[in-house]
Symmetry: C2
Subunit: 430 residues, 2 copies
Amino acid sequence: MNAIHIALLGMGTVGTGVVKILASNAHNIEQKVGAPVIVKKILVKNPDKVRNVKTEAELVTNFDEILNDPEIMIVAEVMGGETPSKDYMLAALKAGKHVVTANKDVVAKYGRELFAAAEAHHTDLLFEASVGGGIPIIRPLKQCLAANQITEIMGIVNGTTNYMLTKMTKEKMDYADVLAEAQAKGYAESDPTADVGGFDAARKLAILASIGFGARVTLEDVHVEGITNIAIEDIEYARELGFIIKLLAIAKQDERGINVRVHPAFLPMSHPLAAVSDVFNAIFVKGDAVGETMFYGRGAGEMPTASAVTADIIDVARDIRHKVSSRILCTCFEQKPVYPVSKTESPYYIRLLVEDKPGVLAAIAGAFGAQQVSLHSVIQKRKVERSTELVLITYRVTDENIRLAMNTLLGMSVVSKIGNVIRVEAAEIS
Amino acid sequence: MNAIHIALLGMGTVGTGVVKILASNAHNIEQKVGAPVIVKKILVKNPDKVRNVKTEAELVTNFDEILNDPEIMIVAEVMGGETPSKDYMLAALKAGKHVVTANKDVVAKYGRELFAAAEAHHTDLLFEASVGGGIPIIRPLKQCLAANQITEIMGIVNGTTNYMLTKMTKEKMDYADVLAEAQAKGYAESDPTADVGGFDAARKLAILASIGFGARVTLEDVHVEGITNIAIEDIEYARELGFIIKLLAIAKQDERGINVRVHPAFLPMSHPLAAVSDVFNAIFVKGDAVGETMFYGRGAGEMPTASAVTADIIDVARDIRHKVSSRILCTCFEQKPVYPVSKTESPYYIRLLVEDKPGVLAAIAGAFGAQQVSLHSVIQKRKVERSTELVLITYRVTDENIRLAMNTLLGMSVVSKIGNVIRVEAAEIS
């Protein structure tokens, strides 16, 4: 069969990885597809830039040269960003070209519009690389677990923050030092907000929840807290209690609807996600039939992400060979209510600085009790000048009630400071 | 669109699970497929038997009633065993019906013949449930990781033995007691050979290696050792050295070809597979682009296995809706040599009982040295009557040389007994 010609939009890290894989595994891929897969054109900003990979593809600076080339059947978007990526993808779909993308921002924000265009123009739109880098998760959710009602997705989906929390845990480094090191190593951006603020994880969670629950979930639905105020004390106290702190992206579905949130959490050391260290990512999925499953691997980086993009290219090429398209597009068939984080329940870890004098504990316990918050344990930690640091673990309680209790505490003269308030996940405190 | 009618061969544990899922998630599945999926007929031995699930399907005792029913487009084989399962599957494929199976024995042994029939008759043949129960692994290997040259697959793919080893590790129970308990709980068969002897894992490994390496690997190619001679001492000494003992199914590919083996192994506690406990399974896969990935979940049981079978049914139904078939069949395009276990290399753990007298250590070290086996450490453990138990860890060495050294030791009068010889995997001893 004739070669299948493709174009790449962008030749940065991921694009370069795709070129490398298509060259080094060409024979293998040709066998799987039943035809060679050739990169014909690559959209770049500067065709004269020195590249660290050789390619026979034509480097073009005008997208129209790709759009109007009838031989190009697949467009792989690996340039990132929302603009002009989304417009290029939409134009390619409308021109009847299949689209593969690694772009979580565009998929999370414009998924509905892009899938509609793919369906209308009988094309494929695949995005395995948009969540979890090289980890197979989109296809497993859409196909392998298709028989399940998914009840919960819990992921470590941001490598930067997982690297930072791992460093803080293993080397007892504090947040500022770890951030500086991550930036020096290139793991964190000079403006690290998207990562440390939890927004990157939130976009990925919106995609995972939409697929898992069969209902569109947007970034706006996700409650987001970052890791910026995690102190070394929190990590140490977690360890003493048998927990590890991870930035979790959590989606749950119950009779109330869907809840989606990204925040740091205490996770029991025995949980499969607890062992996911450094830049590794993992997504834990619960289904009514399959029970607990987990998908683990490298969530970012040139070759892992390129692995997922190229897998999508191979899959589309197989579809082209078999003259089929749009086998599996948008699976958001339903509309489901999203309930706010204030109505979610979990045990909580609370670190307080209080005055070191008789009667303080009774006053604090009373303040919690008034908001229906039952305390499982109260542990006195170190003295800080004339105050004492307390670590409290609550029983299961709503987020709303914890906030009310915190407001009461803030108004009490014996409370010097609320050090931190962190949810405890995947553990029953009893 | 008209309903898609299917038939089940067998209504045991897995078949019952499939009936339950198709009923309870019917709405969800109909949306994904674009048509209802109806179980029209089920092949059973005894139609009058009381079942713990309701079905409107017709229970038939003669396979021809399914084979000759033109309305039935998908046959899901969930009866197990080689005969008559394989004949029924082959007949169904030849009649143009799509086949889904959970049968590792038949896929491992007759895969080539079945895939050829599927290709010739333009049908699908899916078998996600044959390895790892509910864990998505076949599709991830065939599709999501399709861009990779897979270099290594290492799995915990037998739940019975993993449950037993977990019990031995956590509760310090010995092998015989754990086996008796596993049999009482129904986790182990009354004849446990297939599980504890490693043969179940070997069949699954043959399937995984065939897909991962793109070359047919058969059960005969797999070197198999079971867990029957793992002693509580081995588990305890492993723990002291920072390891855990797991029954591993290992497939490696290098310039010499393919090596496939199932045996107990020392695994570092920090390895992602080390935390896979009880009846859980996990498959660790290394690809040249993606790096390390892992797939975790329940490797057996009614609902997890039924989850995978039903996912395959949904996928075939999607193909029927899109008038496509045989998109992805056999991917064993190449022939690759299999090299014997004697040529594989790893560090080894060796437990010996030796006479407690001067000069013994020098004699033993000399015997190892004569076979090019370098010892990393020798630790004296407890005294047993007038002997001493020694634990040795070697540097990386071929299996062949270890066997030669063991033969020499057996001939030495100071060596009372070779307690055990276990490979150390995924660790460099230095």
